[in-house]
Amino acid sequence: MAVKAAGQAASPSRSHDEPPPTPQLIQLLTPEGERAEHPDYPLDLTPDEIKALYRDLILVRRIDFEAIALQRQGELGIWASLLGQEAAQVGSGRALGPRDMAFPTYREHGVAWCRGLDPAKLLELFRGVSHGGWDPKAHNFHLYTIVIGAQTLHATGYAMGIQRDGALGEDGEAAIVYFGDGATSQGDVNEAFIWASVTNAPVVFFCQNNQWAISEPLDRQTRIPLYHRARGFGFPGIRVDGNDVFACLAVTRQAMQAAREGQGPTLIEAFTYRMGAHTTTDDPTRYRLSAELESWKLKDPIERVKQYLIRSGMAQESFFTGVSAEADEVGIRIRKACLEMPDPDPLSMFDHIYAEPSGLLEEERAQLAAYLSSFVSEEAAR
């Protein structure tokens, strides 16, 4: 038992042919709200476009807050908060065209918002009323996938379909798939990288590195920056400031356009932070220091946009109060939708298992119906 398993350092000469390049972070808006330029990612946004992004960020955060409150009040079984990851999700989500297809995890409420999915649908899932149940084609937004990493292969296969349909070109289609830092360890994710590379599939791998996989910090998954991994698989990898909505928008736009035009996959590592608990059942005080959270609060994804809007004179106080009032309305609306959500009919558990009704399932449905009505008649008899 002499060997120390954790923290063992391979000699640098063995682990790298050349010294690793220092990670490059694409940033177009600093935490202080200063606009930065990057030669590879020019971004021209009108004041209205910037205000629209700000509105998205605020509304998405408000939806998240409302959902956490609903969970605390016992109205949802659980909620996976996106707090801190709004810019990564809104920036990338707004980079998509209507015909692009997005494959989310369970935390992509901001992307869902950008795709036009009613947030009440998300509440259904977390309330335990459905397993999702939305039509992925309605908003080109696939179902939430809870099994870590599985959706990366689905997105890659979907992208292979785009190739076969001849839907590439300047105004072609591409797929984007979301996953976390923890997910990068899964076999499925690595297989997706290989498939996408070998087939040159039009798919963008959007990894939100929020530094944590429940209680496990990033160093349990990797010893190199995650975006460096792409190179080994044979496609470009980029690290973007995941708390910078401008940079996330610009970088994702470019990667999606490259994919649409037949230039193959890109890995985007959005460097961000999970500011809340993993889910409402998690207690992060057991495994991380609050100082870390405090330092990330200074890089808040929303505050910097607000500062930029104020300093550049693009928005006045009335704009901010207007957005905040709208956020309250959205909060009230989804709360109402949640509280009014009926429990599903127990007999609906037999629906949609196969394309056609099956004899056995219909028999079981009838059994349960008879069993349930036996209680009703017992009550009536009393």
Binding site: M1, V129, S215, Q221
Partner: protein, 337 residues
């Protein structure tokens, strides 16, 4: 390395989560080759706190927060076992064992056979299983029959804290791979656990346990349904029916001796599990009981269990899961022949 509970040994009741924790701790103290590995088992102590404090006391070499990959967890556990270690893998939830299914079925289960007995793999794969906790998809499943179908694996389920404490230690000291199911909705149930007693005197892990003796019907169950079935026996008593409740504990191999002896006595047999009845453990038992106890049976072997559906959304899970009423309903039917 003293156990935090050492001062209050025999002092009484422990939760199942805590009893398993104490069992793991004992096994680690007794054998330096025992390792614990899985997602969030270290500093967090596991999402159900079963490994709470173990990393602090035994170090990161022995309690390993692994990368997020179940195939990797089981595959590397096999390698560690080849090197003489006894890894205890935690799969965070039932629905997440499937990325490891290939390693379990094609490697873990078959290495002894492949090597003509030269290689033994004393790997334990712990899986919190079952529903009733209001969770989202993949967090409430009962996949035990999939493993019981595979030769070379021992498949067990503990039903209460005392058994959990003993069985986890027995599983770790067993030279075969053991798939160890823990009823997650019972993690916070408490019973007396004899921490000082040691496991030498405990019931062998492959033996069923008769919890309630009765004369009219044999109720077979395991894991989360153990408590439900004991409650059913009490309720039936009031109606004048005498139910014998047997906790199977081992699902593969099955303790058919205990099962057959009971059914020959009662003449009726009902098997209860949360898992779908279709293709479940109950079907296997029904076939064997029908064959071996045919002339003693007053009624066909009946089953209470999940429907042939995926696990439903949690707001209607109570209609999927067999509860006291559903168990008694099936018991009543066994008297209708």
């Amino acid at each position: 390395m003293t156990s935090p509970a050492a001062g209050k040994q025999n002092a009484g009741k422990l939760t199942l989560s805590r009893a398993l924790n104490e069992g793991l701790r004992k096994a680690m103290e007794n054998d330096p080759k025992v390792l614990v590995m899985g997602e969030d088992v270290g500093r967090l102590g596991g999402v159900f706190r079963v490994t709470d404090g173990l990393q602090k006391d035994f170090g990161e070499d022995r309690v390993i927060d692994t990368p997020l990959a179940e195939s990797g967890i089981v595959g590397t556990a096999i390698g560690l076992a080849l090197r003489g270690y006894r890894p205890v893998c935690e799969i965070q939830f039932d629905g997440f064992v499937f990325p490891a299914f290939d390693q379990i079925v094609s490697q873990l289960a078959k290495m002894s056979y492949r090597s003509a007995g030269h290689v033994r793999l004393p790997v334990v794969v712990r899986i919190p299983f079952g529903g009733g906790i209001g969770a989202v998809e993949h967090h409430s499943e009962s996949p035990e029959a999939l493993f019981a179908h595979i030769a070379g694996l021992r498949v067990v389920a503990c039903g209460d804290p005392a058994d959990g404490y003993a069985m986890i230690q027995q599983a770790i000291s067993c030279d075969d791979p053991v798939i160890f199911f823990e009823p997650k909705r019972r993690y916070w149930d408490k019973t007396d656990v004899d921490l000082a007693g040691g496991v030498a005197a405990a019931l062998p892990i492959d033996t069923a346990r008769t919890l309630v003796t009765g004369t009219d019907v044999t109720l077979l169950c395991y894991g989360p349904m153990v408590r439900t079935c004991v409650e059913a026996a009490v309720a039936a008593q009031e109606e004048g029916k005498s139910i014998e409740v047997i906790d199977l504990r081992s699902l593969s191999p099955l303790d058919t001796e205990t099962i057959f002896a009971s059914v020959r006595k009662t003449g009726r047999c009902v098997v209860v599990h949360e898992a779908a009845v279709t293709g479940g453990i109950g079907g296997e038992i029904a076939a064997r009981v029908s064959q071996e106890c045919f002339y003693h049976l007053e009624a066909p072997v009946l089953r209470a269990g999940g429907y042939t559906t995926p696990y439903p959304p949690s707001r209607i899970e109570d209609h999927y899961l067999p509860d006291l009423d559903r168990v008694l309903d099936v018991v009543d039917r066994a008297f209708g022949y």
